[in-house]
């Protein structure tokens, strides 16, 4: 095991008794090993001291504002999606109605006005009423 790894495990209290005793013995007898430990600890201390404790002021307010914006964008997206669907459904309906109208007009219906022909309506006369009534 690398010396630094050993020292990290030592600092975490993660060494079995036998190994712990060996590390302590080395720390007492080997200046190089001791200085390695001091370096590791010094760097750890600098890292902790240099750790950022916060973002720029009003961070929480910015997070909440971003959430609101995301929510309103989502609602806006839903509205746009519905508009897109309805526009296409409306066009499809017009096309179907035109097709039915054209078919009825070509078939001639029961005669009468152009509107009646397009709508496929029979001419409103007593005869047609009797005929439709069976």
């Amino acid at each position: 095991m690398d010396d630094r790894e050993l020292l990290i495990r030592y600092s975490e209290g993660d060494l079995p008794d036998e190994e712990l005793a060996r590390v302590e013995e080395r720390l007492n007898s080997e200046p190089g090993f001791r200085s390695k430990r001091e370096s590791v600890e010094e760097i750890a201390t600098l890292l902790r001291q240099g750790a950022a404790g916060s973002f720029e002021p009003f961070f929480a307010a910015r997070v909440v504002a971003r959430l609101r914006k995301a929510d309103s964008s989502a609602a806006e997206g839903m509205y746009e999606a519905l508009r897109w669907i309805f526009a296409r459904v409306a066009v499809a309906c017009v096309v179907v109605m035109l097709a039915i109208g054209a078919y009825s007009a070509l078939e001639g219906g029961y005669g009468g006005s152009v509107v009646d022909s397009v709508m496929g309506l029979p001419e409103a006369t007593l005869e047609t009423a009797l005929a439709l009534g069976g």
Partner: protein
């Protein structure tokens, strides 16, 4: 008396914006330490910090409290930071290859200096952390800055304890050499 995390989570789930804001304020220092430790200060860190809490908000319904909220947030923050570092790496063309920066240099012992130069030492150690490979940086941040144990860091990163230990040992060696070199230079 401070309200517990669970109460704030429940209120946030119910749509209480104030409660969520309290959660953000409570965990901002921890997330800031992780994200700024990983990315350095700046807009990128701010963005990742905000995104960390937004991910939490979106996952509130699924959060079951298997891990503490702090650990949960740290996991999100570390993963987002690693992704940001990948993007950054793609953006910035590197002139020095990783192999070159990682090549062996003579063993050196760093001589810590007095209090007057403390701030400069902190700045230099931060710079040295930013030169570490992302996965080494992550273990340094979790273990040395956030104060997680090696086992906890392994859980957060989803790697074996031995991997965290060896990455940490190599990262510390690298930091020590960097500090020594900037002492000499």
């Amino acid at each position: 008396m401070s309200v517990s995390d669970q109460v704030l989570i429940d209120r946030s789930r119910a749509g209480d914006e104030r409660a969520f804001r309290d959660l953000v304020e409570r965990y901002e220092p921890r997330v800031a330490a992780t994200v700024i430790g990983m990315l350095g200060p700046g807009d990128e860190a701010e963005d990742v910090g905000q995104e960390t809490f937004i991910r939490l908000y979106r996952a509130l319904d699924r959060f079951r409290g298997d891990s503490s909220l702090g650990t949960y947030l740290t996991r999100i923050a570390i993963n987002l930071s690693l992704t940001a570092l990948k993007k950054r790496k793609r953006r910035i063309s590197r002139f020095v290859s990783q192999d070159e920066t990682e090549r062996d240099r003579p063993e050196a012992s760093w001589d810590p200096r007095g209090e007057l130069e403390r701030k400069d030492d902190i700045r230099r150690v931060r710079g040295a952390v930013e030169r570490l490979a992302p996965n080494h940086r992550a273990v340094v941040v979790l273990r040395m800055i956030d104060g997680y144990s090696t086992r906890e860091a392994a859980e957060i990163l989803g790697v074996p304890v031995g991997t965290v230990m060896s990455r940490l040992a190599r990262a510390m060696e690298r930091l020590e050499k960097d500090m020594k070199e900037s002492d000499d230079g």
